[in-house]
Symmetry: C2
C-alpha cells in the first residue's frame, strides 16, 4: 500500500460540507432538507450579470491575463474607490474566488512554520488553507457572551512570538455576523505596526451591514499600507458563488508581483466568471437595498425564533448572513448528523454546520452551530420550527437529560 502525505492526512474536512452524504441520503428518503449549513444564498444573481453571459459573442473561450481581464480590474478599482478604498487596477489580482486570494496571500507572505493569529470562531476553511500552506493558526477566542467582539489587545500580545507574521480577520464576520468598528480596527492597526505584521482581511460580506452599521475597511487604515491585504469575492455580493471570482488587493507592490507568479502558474481565473463579474459592476443600487432589506427580515425572524427556544443563546449579528448559536446539546457534530440521519418533522429536517470546525482550539464550539440565513422567510420559519422540535426530542439535549448523558461519556 502506498502512503499519502502527512498534510493530506492533517487537512481538515469542511464542517460545512462534510455532512453532505447524510443530507443526500435524507433527500433520497424524500425528505426536505433546509440548507442552513452553507452560505449559498437563494437571492437571484443580478440580471445584468446573467445577460452578459447569455449574450456573449465569444467564439473561443480563451485564457485571460493571469492577473485578470484589465477592463474588469479597472472597473473593480472604481468600485473600491466608490467605497472609500483608494486603489488602482495595478494594486490587484483577480483570483479564482476569495479562496485562491487567501491562498496566494499565505503563499506569498508566509513560510511554512510561520504563525498567524485569527480571532475564533473563524471561517472554517482558513484551517484548510493554513494546512495547505504549512502555516500555524494561533486562535484568539472571541466570546459569544460579548457578541463575538474583538478580544482586547493584551490577549493578542500574549500570542505574539518571533514566528508571528500575520493577523487575519473576516469583516463582516463569517461565522458570527460581527462587524468590527473603526475603533477595533485601529487597535489592530497599532498591533500590526508595533510588531510589523501582515494584516489580511476577508471582506467579502462588505455589502451586508445592517441597522445602519457602517463598514470600515482595513484598506482605509493609515500607516500600514504596505502590510494590508484585502481578500475579496463576488460570490456573496452578487449571489454568484459559482462564478469563482475573487480578488487579492494590496498597495504593497512586492505582494502583487509575488502573488502574480502563483497566478501565472495556474494560468488565469475563469473567463465566464470574469465576464459576469465585470457586468455585475453595473448592478443598480436598488438591488443591494432589496437584498439588505430581505436579509434583515430573515435575520430578525431567526434571531427571534432562536432566542425563544429553551436554553438557546444567540447574539444579534450586525452583518453577513450567519450567526453562531449556542444550543442545549452535548455535541454539535453528533447533533447535526442526527438531524439528517434520524430526525424528521413533517418529513422535513435542517442541515446546520457544527461550530467545532470554526474553532481552532480543540474542544471549543461543541455546543454551538453556525446558521446561514440564506433561505426565504417561509423556509426559515419551517426550519426554525424543525429545529425547535428537534431540540425537544434529541437524545443529547443537555437541558432534558444533561447530567445523565454527560456522566456516561
Amino acid at each position: 500500500m502506498i502512503t499519502l502525505s502527512q498534510r493530506g492526512n492533517e487537512m481538515p474536512e469542511s464542517p460545512i460540507r462534510k455532512l453532505v452524504p447524510y443530507s443526500e441520503e435524507a433527500k433520497r428518503k424524500g425528505r426536505t432538507v433546509y440548507h442552513l449549513n452553507i452560505g449559498q444564498p437563494d437571492i437571484e444573481t443580478p440580471e445584468v450579470a446573467l445577460s452578459a453571459i447569455k449574450n456573449t459573442k465569444v467564439k473561443v473561450i480563451e485564457y485571460s491575463h493571469s492577473a485578470g481581464i484589465e477592463s474588469y480590474r479597472k472597473g473593480l478599482a472604481q468600485y473600491y474607490n466608490s467605497k472609500g478604498i483608494d486603489v488602482t487596477h495595478h494594486d490587484m489580482l483577480i483570483t479564482t474566488g476569495g479562496s485562491e486570494a487567501l491562498l496566494f496571500a499565505f503563499f506569498s507572505c508566509l513560510n511554512p512554520g510561520d504563525e498567524i493569529i485569527i480571532p475564533e470562531p473563524f471561517y472554517a476553511n482558513y484551517n484548510g488553507f493554513a494546512c495547505t500552506a504549512g502555516v500555524i493558526v494561533k486562535p484568539i477566542t472571541a466570546k459569544i457572551e460579548n457578541g463575538f467582539a474583538l478580544p482586547p489587545v493584551s490577549e493578542f500580545e500574549k500570542l505574539i512570538t518571533s514566528k508571528t507574521k500575520a493577523i487575519l480577520i473576516c469583516n463582516p464576520n463569517n461565522p458570527t455576523g460581527y462587524v468590527y468598528s473603526k475603533n477595533e480596527l485601529e487597535t489592530l492597526r497599532d498591533i500590526v505596526k508595533k510588531y510589523n505584521l501582515f494584516l489580511f482581511a476577508d471582506e467579502v460580506y462588505r455589502e451586508f451591514c445592517y441597522n445602519g452599521k457602517e463598514f470600515f475597511s482595513i484598506m482605509q487604515l493609515e500607516g500600514i499600507e504596505q502590510n494590508t491585504v484585502l481578500i475579496d469575492s463576488v460570490s456573496k455580493r452578487y449571489s454568484m458563488c459559482g462564478a469563482r471570482i475573487g480578488a487579492l488587493v494590496s498597495r504593497n507592490k512586492n505582494i502583487i508581483s509575488t502573488a502574480l507568479k502563483f497566478a501565472q502558474a495556474r494560468l488565469s481565473p475563469p473567463t465566464f466568471g470574469q465576464i459576469a463579474s465585470e457586468a455585475a459592476l453595473q448592478t443598480p443600487m436598488t438591488y443591494f437595498e432589496g437584498v439588505t432589506k430581505e436579509y434583515v427580515k430573515r435575520r430578525n425572524l431567526i434571531i427571534e425564533a432562536l432566542n425563544k427556544m429553551e436554553g438557546v443563546i444567540c447574539p444579534t449579528p450586525q452583518g453577513a448572513f450567519y450567526t453562531v448559536v449556542r444550543l442545549p446539546i452535548d455535541n454539535a457534530d453528533k447533533f447535526c448528523q442526527w438531524l439528517l440521519e434520524d430526525f424528521e418533522y413533517k418529513n422535513q429536517t435542517v442541515m446546520l454546520a457544527p461550530a467545532t470546525g470554526f474553532y481552532s482550539t480543540k474542544g471549543s464550539g461543541t455546543n454551538e452551530v453556525r446558521i446561514a440565513y440564506v433561505l426565504n422567510l417561509e423556509s426559515l420559519k419551517n426550519a426554525m420550527e424543525c429545529l425547535e422540535k428537534a431540540l425537544h426530542v434529541y437524545p443529547g439535549n443537555t437541558l432534558v437529560q444533561g447530567l445523565k448523558i454527560q456522566s456516561s461519556i
Copy 2:
C-alpha cells in the same frame, strides 16, 4: 519594510507569460505579435459548449458539489470508458483546470521535502507547483538528439533516493510533442512498482496524436492501479482554456478522499465552465478529425520551415501542438525579449517561450525555445518568415558571430 516569504521569492516566473509586458509594449507600438509562446489555440470552441452557456436557464449562479457536478462526472467517466480507461464518476474530482488537479495531487501525496522525478524539458509550471507544495524536482534529461524519448531506466534509478515519492510525465508531451509508447510506459510501470512510487500523468493532449500514433494512458497500466493519478483538462481538448475545468482521476480511494478535502476548502470548480464542459462531451467526432487535420498541417508547415533555417534543429513532434527547437542563439531569454523589444519585420514580430524555464537543470535549454503552433497557417507562415529574418540579424546569433560573443560573456 515587511519581508515576504521565501517560497514567494523562490517561486519561478512563468517563462510563457513573463515576457507579456514586452509584447504589450510592442503592440502599443502598432506591431503585430504572433503568439507562439502560449498554448492558446485559435480553434473555435465547439458550438455545443457555447450554446449551453448562452442558453443557460440559471437564475442563481450557485456553488456546485466540491467534487464537481455529478452529471458531468458521470458523463466524463463515459468519455474515459470510450478511451479504454475503466473508471467511474467516483474515481474523479472536477478541478479548476489541470493546474489545480496537479496541485491537489502534490498536496495529497507528497510532503514538503519529498522528491519527484520529471523528464525535462517539462511544462514550466510544474516548477511553480512544486515550489508551492515544497516538493523537490529531480529532473531527468530527455535529449533533443533522441527526439526527446524517455531516458533509459538506469538513468531513473540513479536519481531514486529514500525521498523519491513520485514520477510525473506529460503525455503527449508539452513542450516537446513527444508521445510515449506503450513500451516506454511499461518501463515506467516497472520502476513505479519496484520502488512503490506515485505515477502522475498529465494527459491533457490525449486527443492530439498524429500520424496514426496511438495514445496509451497510464490508467491502462496493470498492476499499479493504486499508484496512478491522471491529470486532465478540457482546455485544449475543446479549445476552452478559459473555462478552467480539469479533473483529477485515480482508482486509489484515499487519494480521492484526501484531494476532496482540498477541494472542499476551495468550495467548488467554476459552474459555467462545468456547464460548458458537460455539453462539450457531445462534441461530434468530426470536430476532432477537423482539428487534428489542421494541427498536422500546421506542424508540417513549421517543422519544414524551421529545419530549413540555418543552424536550427527541430525533431518532428507526434502529438500536442508544441515543439522544442534548438536555435543558433547565445541566450534564449535574451533572444525572446529582443524579438519583442528590438525586432520587427514588416511591422511584425514573434513571441516565443525561452526553453530555459522548461528545464530544471540550471544552464539547460539556453539555445532552445518552445513554439506552440496554435495559429492559422497564414499567421504561422508569417511568423516563420519573421523568425528566419530575426535569426539573420540577431546580434547573438552563434553561427554568425558565435565565437566573438561567447568569448565576451
